[in-house]
Symmetry: C2
Subunit: 197 residues, 2 copies
DNA sequence: TTGATATGACCGACTGGTCAGTCATAAAGT
DNA sequence: ACTTTATGACTGACCAGTCGGTCATATCAA
């Protein structure tokens, strides 16, 4: 009922706890995968007791989904900016998209989300559907636009690739996976890969 | 001491059991991942009791590694044939390699090995190293040869891509992953992808 | 041929330990 | 004082790995 100061401060503290738990959870899930991660480990990393986690999340599953979602949000916002590309050449736009992808996903810790998705996706269909709808299909649509635009301007040859933007991001994905799996055995120069790409 | 008939038949039965266990294990690991797979489930699928598994394998870890290894062997043998390509154009050779990869890995159940590797690899460094040494580096070397050959014949432009055969297989990998994760949401035509590729 | 004995592959109930989720109690906040 | 938030010991389910016992088959003896 009282509402003289809309954000009293308790809200902030609560959000703070929540974010600490989410980031601790994300880190543990990255390292161990879903099944092998212990709630105790998350609690310890977040600096709370295990019971506290259950004040904020219903179950391990929920926590996992929320953690992944929270990690994707920034990427989502980044994608929004894709849609607006009023500038000149389609090639420049395409190059820019690829560079952004390398810089913001492949070249950062965020690439670990990719691995988590690949590893645990099939067990979390809701999450997969969310990711597909909110991230993938938007990104692919943006790609298709740019490619189409390039064809219309005569920059690109019309080819089957228009319908398979997958092809364009394949090399980047493989770079991310390689770095996470074999970098100690045979290091990979992401910049070199990007240029070759 | 008796040795008139060296393979009495017991050997065959033993190998048979072993193969049944391996294939049951592989199927379960594919579906559930390492941590979430129960030995009971493997035993049931293989039609043996749980104890029997331990007559053939030391531990869940060992069983996992052996199962994955056994699934990779055929791929390894296929790679051997890569090295010999005395024919004409480098482009034809390259196309052939890509086609073989699509037909024998991406287009079959074997693509699930890829996912298993990505999901569990980091927890099985020995397996990763084995895969890297026996499969990846051989395949990449073969690729580099073909590319090099193409450049010498003037077929391909010399470019940074020579050193990054990763780039070539990226699209195929993404195709495999897509099919395993999003095929129900947005089916992907592997043949179309291959052609675009 | 037939019964007696030996072998070892196979079984599955059991153990010890782990971990998600709960709840009685305590601390903090108002 | 009372409500909200946090704690961590506890519970019950689950599961990797074990081990004493069974039984089909092989070997031998008579």
């Amino acid at each position: 009922m009282n509402n003289p100061t809309p954000p009293p401060g308790g809200k902030d503290a609560k959000n703070e706890r929540m974010r600490e738990i989410l980031s601790a959870a994300l880190e543990e899930f990255f390292q161990e995968g879903f099944a092998a991660t212990r709630l105790d480990a998350i609690a310890e990393r977040a600096g709370v007791a295990k019971g506290t986690i259950y004040l904020y999340f219903d179950s391990k599953e929920t926590l996992f989904e929320e953690a992944v979602r929270s990690a994707i949000l920034p990427v989502l916002q980044r994608i929004e900016t894709f849609s607006v590309d009023p500038q000149g050449s389609a090639e420049a736009a395409l190059r820019a998209m690829i560079s952004i992808f390398y810089r913001d996903v492949i070249g950062t810790d965020r690439r670990r989300i990719l691995r988590l998705f690949i590893a645990e996706g099939p067990r979390f269909p809701r999450l997969l559907a969310f990711y597909h709808a909110e991230v993938l299909s938007r990104g692919m649509a943006a790609m298709r636009n740019v490619l189409q635009y390039g064809v219309e301007r005569g920059e690109f040859r019309a080819s089957a690739a228009i319908n398979y933007p997958h092809v364009i991001f394949g090399p980047a994905l493989i770079g991310a996976l390689w770095k996470m799996m074999f970098d100690n055995l045979e290091p990979l120069d992401i910049d070199g890969l990007r240029d070759a790409h």
